[in-house]
């Protein structure tokens, strides 16, 4: 069988149309389908408010720190360069360096509890080369220790120092291993996980549940009727370094 030039051209044109028809059909489909309106109100953004008035009423109380340490097998390493921190205390000047005015600083206790801010735009997530850290739809910035290669980019990226590297085996520094939660191993980065394992069981985070002053309020920041939003509407609330644009989900009430 011999093809004439006319037939060859006709066949080629038909082949091109056939190959492109899928794309064309999809392009028309997209135009017709109206974009589904984003349900902003249905999205959950978990956050926390720390009432510094209530917290300051019990100086020296470390119940939230201890509860977290026991729940997650966080080691106590004496060498400060190797310390592993999930929730810990920082001096006021280091948490809010700009709120150091003569009288304004009296509104703060000398030491403030700090933890991972579970940012809206977490810089740690952006830099992670292995997707070992990512943001869950409910706002929790999660860590997958299986995937962490220990490059520590996230530690450099986090403006709040909320991430710690396991420079040494953490197990010798644990008084007692809690069998309900794994430990970490040398060479991975770890941080506060907003007690996602307790949230899955419908429990509050360990620090929130342990606070005798009820200074910590946990909830959905997008729930306008929720306790958290009511607190934020009625009290003066600070985020750490909001100018950086990370959008922390931890609020300090003064």
């Amino acid at each position: 069988m011999k093809l004439t030039r006319k037939e060859f051209l006709r066949l080629s044109a038909a082949a091109v149309v056939a190959a492109g028809s899928g794309t064309l059909a999809r392009a028309f489909d997209r135009k017709e389908a109206a974009p589904a309106p984003a349900k902003a109100d249905a999205k959950v953004r978990l956050g926390m408010a720390i009432d510094l008035k209530k917290c300051g009423e019990a100086p020296g109380c470390e119940k939230c720190l201890t509860a977290c340490r026991l729940a997650h097998n966080v080691p106590q390493i004496p060498n400060p360069a190797h310390a592993v921190k999930w929730i810990w205390e920082e001096p006021r000047q280091r948490v809010f360096p700009l709120e150091d005015g003569d009288y304004a600083r009296r509104n703060f206790p000398e030491k403030l509890p700090v933890l991972c801010n579970h940012c809206t735009h977490p810089s740690c997530v952006k830099v992670c080369p292995t997707q070992a850290t990512w943001k869950r739809p409910d706002g929790v910035v999660m860590m997958d220790y299986h995937r962490c290669i220990g490059c520590r980019y996230c530690m450099a990226a986090c403006p709040y120092g909320s991430r710690s590297f396991n420079f040494e085996d953490p197990r010798p520094h644990l008084e007692k291993v809690n069998p309900a939660y794994p430990t970490r191993t040398i060479g991975v980065v770890e941080k506060c996980n907003f007690c996602e394992e307790r949230l899955a069981d419908g429990q509050l985070p360990a620090c929130v549940a342990a606070c005798p002053q009820q200074a910590l309020t946990f909830g959905d920041l997008n729930d306008e009727e929720g306790a958290l939003r009511r607190l934020l509407a009625n009290r003066f609330a600070l985020q750490r370094r909001p100018e950086l644009g990370n959008g922390p989900s931890i609020f300090y009430l003064i």
């Binding site: 999660m142 970490r184 191993t185």
Partner: protein, 140 residues
């Protein structure tokens, strides 16, 4: 035929070398039977049939890990409809298989398969406690 002795000696040497593993096995009184794993308590069975678990426990563990850590799938529905909590220490070991020394490591050692290093982070119930539950009760 002057090299008769040398040739037979050489053949014998080769024969001994070839059959060496047999003699070694006989001398060490090893048996080729795999480790006898402890029977599960009555009414208890695994999250999948034993044949499946023997072949594909690694895939199941990996699916559990991915599901739990990355997709918030905290429960697993088994083939018979039973719901299990996804947990290596809490479900696999604590509920049925005891501890890693008696369960995971015996088979892996027998098969000569190096497992992934789970135990750098995950904890295994203590060996003595799991082995003699009676002793633990007496101590209380």
């Amino acid at each position: 035929m002057r090299d008769k002795v040398l040739i037979y000696a050489g053949l014998l040497l080769v024969l001994i070398l070839l059959t060496y593993p047999v003699w070694q096995g006989l001398a060490g009184r090893t048996v080729s039977a795999g480790p006898q794993l402890p029977q599960l308590a009555k009414g208890k069975h695994c999250v999948a049939p034993v044949t499946v678990m023997k072949k594909a426990h690694m895939q199941l563990l990996m699916a559990w890990r991915q599901g739990k850590v990355r997709h918030q799938q905290d429960h697993y529905t088994a083939y018979d409809g039973t719901r299990y909590r996804v947990s290596l220490t809490g479900t696999c070991l604590a509920q049925c298989h005891g501890n890693k020394e008696d369960f995971c490591e015996r088979c892996h050692a027998y098969a000569g398969v190096a497992p992934l290093d789970c135990w750098g982070c995950h904890t295994s119930p203590a060996k003595a406690m799991a082995k003699t539950p009676g002793a633990a009760q007496e101590a209380q």
